[in-house]
């Protein structure tokens, strides 16, 4: 009985007000939300919240805000269906429900003193932004740092101002799958930038987030350069319902993405990523 009450309270969202809405690009919006007092636990980079749009439904969304500014909760959302579309339409002053944070964080401490390689694809940059904020403020703690970001075209570069002339310019590289002639940057897939000429993969830890096929190809490119699977981390996304390891909706083989993930080492999940039924 006591357990049930604990479970129920863990599943009740706290009401939170939208403070700011920023359109990143077509169908992608960042919401800044006031942190409700009842959400007492601070998030770690890589963790996610369950966001509830009243009368519509609830979905998992990663934290994409600054881990040192926990008074506001920041999420970047792409409209793909009913709930995500309702979320991107929220305006400052609107209310939504939040519960969390849930899931495993990126192993940033494990990367201290080593070469940190961050590979992001498309919206996969959002769950990695908290890592980039944290690491940028303590660069000396890492031997080196590299960010490789691949996206569809120049109009879908997430957090663009952070790159050109911004704080990520010195360690970040962007590539797009295709571009018109006015684009001055790299064109080619993200794995084109994973090369021995530019990356120091010895004593390196890699964090990868993006579409599953992009994560698989990127991880394999790093392995080809000599990295071990257990030093490469990926973030899994699966449909999620309870987020507290009860309903099995997010089950991925023996893993529950909500509790054993979303962040996992590539060695743990490599085989599972290739099973069509999962």
């Amino acid at each position: 009985m006591k357990d049930d009450r604990g479970l129920i309270s863990a599943m009740v969202p706290a009401a939170a007000r939208v403070l700011r809405r920023q359109v990143e690009y077509d169908e992608v919006v960042t919401l800044e939300v006031e942190r409700p007092a009842t959400l007492t636990k601070e998030f770690l980079p890589g963790q996610f919240n369950m966001l509830y749009v009243f009368g519509v439904g609830e979905i998992a969304v990663s934290h994409s805000g600054h881990p040192f500014h926990q008074d506001r909760i920041v999420h970047t959302i792409r409209a793909v269906g009913k709930v995500s579309r309702a979320l991107i339409l929220l305006k400052p002053g609107d209310w939504l429900g939040i519960r969390g944070p849930y899931g495993t964080p990126w192993p940033i401490d494990h990367a201290k003193g080593q070469n940190l390689i961050v590979v992001a694809g498309g919206l996969g940059l959002a769950p990695l932004r908290p890592v980039l904020y944290e690491v940028s403020s303590a660069k000396d703690a890492y031997r080196s740092m590299r960010l490789i970001y691949g996206t569809r075209d120049p109009s879908s570069i997430l957090y663009q101002s952070q790159f050109e002339g911004g704080p990520w310019a010195e360690f970040g590289q962007v590539t797009v799958d295709s571009a018109n002639l006015d684009w001055q940057g790299n064109v080619g897939v993200v794995t084109d930038l994973i090369s021995a000429d530019t990356l120091d993969t010895e004593n390196a830890v890699a964090l990868i987030c993006g579409p599953e096929v992009m994560m698989r190809f990127s991880a394999n490119a790093l392995i080809d350069l000599g990295m071990r699977e257990d030093r490469i981390y990926v973030s899994l996304e699966r449909n999620m319902k309870c987020a507290v390891k009860q309903c099995g909706r997010c089950q991925f083989g023996p893993y529950f993405v909500c509790r054993d993930g979303p962040v996992a080492s590539f060695g743990q999940v490599d085989k599972l990523l290739k099973i069509a039924e999962l």
């Binding site: 879908s156 001055q184 096929v213």
Partner: protein
């Protein structure tokens, strides 16, 4: 002064070939400079040359009606421009253009094809340098076709 052979060795692609082969290859090469915006090759042209980029940036492009020329790959130091010279009908498949001043080693495809025909060891060694580049480009092209970041992708 550095000879063309030195310049070829400096570019990673061919450097592991044995010196006599590099000497033969360099006999078919010369230096070339393309101003920003100049075409290095045009789609449909005879594939009489291929290039090793030494400095600067180039693009591979194709024309899409309604969009104009679209870049699908940028190339820089050490990269190869042109693989169509290897097999008949020896016709360039895409446009290649210098995005900024581009210094390259230009190889005469006819000259090299003749050497490869006369010396199959050389032909094999050269092919083994080109095949990984072609495979890599094929892998990239497949990922681009999948459009994994697009509306129907998952990112």
């Amino acid at each position: 002064m550095r000879t063309l052979t030195d310049l070829i060795v400096e570019q990673g692609l061919l450097k592991e070939l044995d010196p006599s082969k590099i000497e033969t290859i360099s006999g078919c090469g010369k230096n070339a400079v393309f101003e920003a915006g100049a075409y290095i090759q045009k789609e449909g042209d005879p594939a009489d040359h291929f290039y090793l980029v030494r400095a600067g940036k180039a693009s591979l492009e194709t024309f899409i009606p309604g969009r104009g020329n679209v870049i699908f790959k940028t190339l820089s130091e050490g990269d190869l421009v042109g693989v169509s010279w290897l097999v008949p009908p020896y016709r360039s498949s895409f446009d290649a253009r210098a995005l900024e001043e581009c210094r390259a080693i230009e190889f005469d495809a006819n000259c090299l094809r003749q050497h490869c025909e006369a010396d199959h060891d050389l032909g094999y060694a050269l092919l083994m340098k080109f095949v990984p580049v072609i495979l890599d480009r094929m892998r990239s092209a497949r990922l681009q076709i999948l459009d994994v970041y697009g509306p129907d992708g998952d990112g």
